[in-house]
């Protein structure tokens, strides 16, 4: 990292304490244990398929300030858990022409959904496609419940995604990238390394080449999605991965892809695979 001169650092601090929240850097040795119980792997060796592009993979949690980090350490402090509770009601609510709720088929969410998040996106044999969790939820709604699909990044959908993800908290992300998923994975990798927009920037420019550097007031992370959906203090709601991808591509002055598009499904599989080995953290808390 660039060293700041003494006088520069002083001005910086003086300014930030008055006008801005001080961008205190994260304590990189901090351990994430949720509810004094779930021990999270927030840093581990990169999976082999990254071919040395990263030595160590790190959860976005390790890049946040200690004030933000602590919000994720206890469910009572984690604002994302409110939405998880709402989704639990939804889980048990009958909707659609078949007169069923999620619970009608899957019973207790805690046992039936344990481990699911960790392996999504995942190849669906019958449909012959890679499915994200959102796609699977909507498939159940439409074809099992006879209910309307939910909008890809809607609050209701993201909350349901979070409820299902919570059942895998602490388990290592382990998405499959070979076999029938491989071509989708390759496509996602292509997108990850494509420089988009008038600023001509790829995901890798920011999250592989420059993680740990400041870009303006933002401390760049590796752009991992093991914590998704994330509760962002900035917009005070849960955000799913496609919404984040859209925001990042928009910020390169590019025409974005649509949430749920083939491109973003492929990108989700690829980015998830970069985090194979990190714990599922959802709902994580970020600024």
């Amino acid at each position: 990292m660039t060293k700041r001169s003494g006088s520069k650092a002083l001005t910086w601090m003086a300014l930030s304490s008055v006008v801005f929240a001080a961008p205190a850097l994260a304590d990189e040795s901090a351990k994430l244990v949720v509810n004094d119980e779930i021990e999270m792997i927030t840093e581990t060796d990169a999976p082999a398929h990254l071919d040395g592009a990263l030595g160590t993979i790190r959860s976005g949690w390790t890049f946040r300030t200690s004030e933000t980090q602590v919000l994720q350490m206890d469910d009572f402090d984690n604002p994302g858990m409110i939405f998880v509770d709402q989704a639990l009601d939804q889980w048990n609510t009958v909707e659609g022409s078949a007169g069923k709720s999620c619970a009608s088929c899957h019973d207790d969410v805690e046992s039936s959904m344990a481990g699911v998040r960790a392996v999504y996106p995942k190849w669906n044999e019958e449909a012959e496609e890679v499915r994200t969790l959102v796609m699977q939820i909507n498939d159940c709604r439409e074809n099992q419940m006879g209910a309307e699909p939910l909008k890809y990044t809607s609050g209701k959908m993201t909350a349901m995604e979070a409820l299902i993800s919570v059942q895998s908290r602490g388990m290592p992300v382990d998405v499959a990238i070979d076999g029938p998923a491989q071509s989708t994975w390759e496509r996602g990798k292509d997108i990850y390394y494509t420089r988009f927009g008038q600023l001509d920037l790829s995901c890798a420019n920011c999250h592989e080449d420059n993680y740990d550097n400041m870009i303006r007031a933002d401390h760049l992370s590796q752009g991992q999605i093991n914590g998704f959906p994330v509760y962002r203090l900035k917009n005070t709601k849960l955000n799913n991965a496609h919404a984040r991808f859209k925001g990042c591509i928009r910020d390169t002055r590019a025409e974005t892809f649509k949430p749920g598009s083939d491109e973003f499904v492929a990108l989700e599989l690829y980015v998830a695979s970069r985090g194979n080995g990190l714990s599922v953290e959802a709902p994580s808390v970020r600024n």
Partner: protein, 157 residues
């Protein structure tokens, strides 16, 4: 009366400058990525640069630390500090760097500020929607000159 004459004179100069402006597609780079001629045909005004380099058109500070601009908060660490840039580079080299840094540093992450084609899925500013073509360069010819004039003042102590 005096004032009016002055305005007319200023307008004439501005008109002449626009006529001498080099369009993004016509820029000539040296082998090392420098641009010899002023893009606007007029000298740069260093005093205009801090605003351009802060949020907005240039946003240079997002990636670079500049001690002379330390009253602006949050300087980035993606590129090197620009302190001393005016000692390290000639004016022509700096013009090339700001217009299209990729001609100096192959594959650079630094955006090209005076270039309007060759992008993948260019957007309409930060709306996420498709751009209306042709694109405007990120900086105007005169803004590039203003930034270059400022960079020339950043000498080694």
């Amino acid at each position: 009366m005096q004032l009016k004459k002055l305005t007319v004179a200023a307008m004439l100069i501005a008109g002449a400058a626009a006529a001498n402006e080099i369009a993004p597609a016509d820029v000539v780079f040296t082998e090392d990525g420098a641009i010899e001629a002023s893009l606007s045909g007029s000298p740069g005004v260093a005093e205009n640069a801090p605003e351009i380099m802060n949020k907005g058109a240039g946003n240079c500070i997002a990636c670079h630390q500049v001690t002379a601009l330390s009253d602006i908060p949050f300087h980035g660490e993606v590129g090197p500090s620009l302190d001393g840039a005016g000692s390290r580079w000639t004016e022509a080299e700096l013009r090339g760097l700001v217009a299209n840094a990729k001609m100096t540093f192959e594959g650079s992450m630094m955006p090209s500020f005076y270039k309007i084609d060759g992008f993948t899925r260019p957007g309409d500013a930060y709306t996420g929607k498709a751009a209306k073509l042709p694109l405007d360069p990120l900086l105007t010819a005169q803004q590039v000159e203003d930034v270059v004039a400022f960079l020339m003042t950043l000498k080694d102590q």
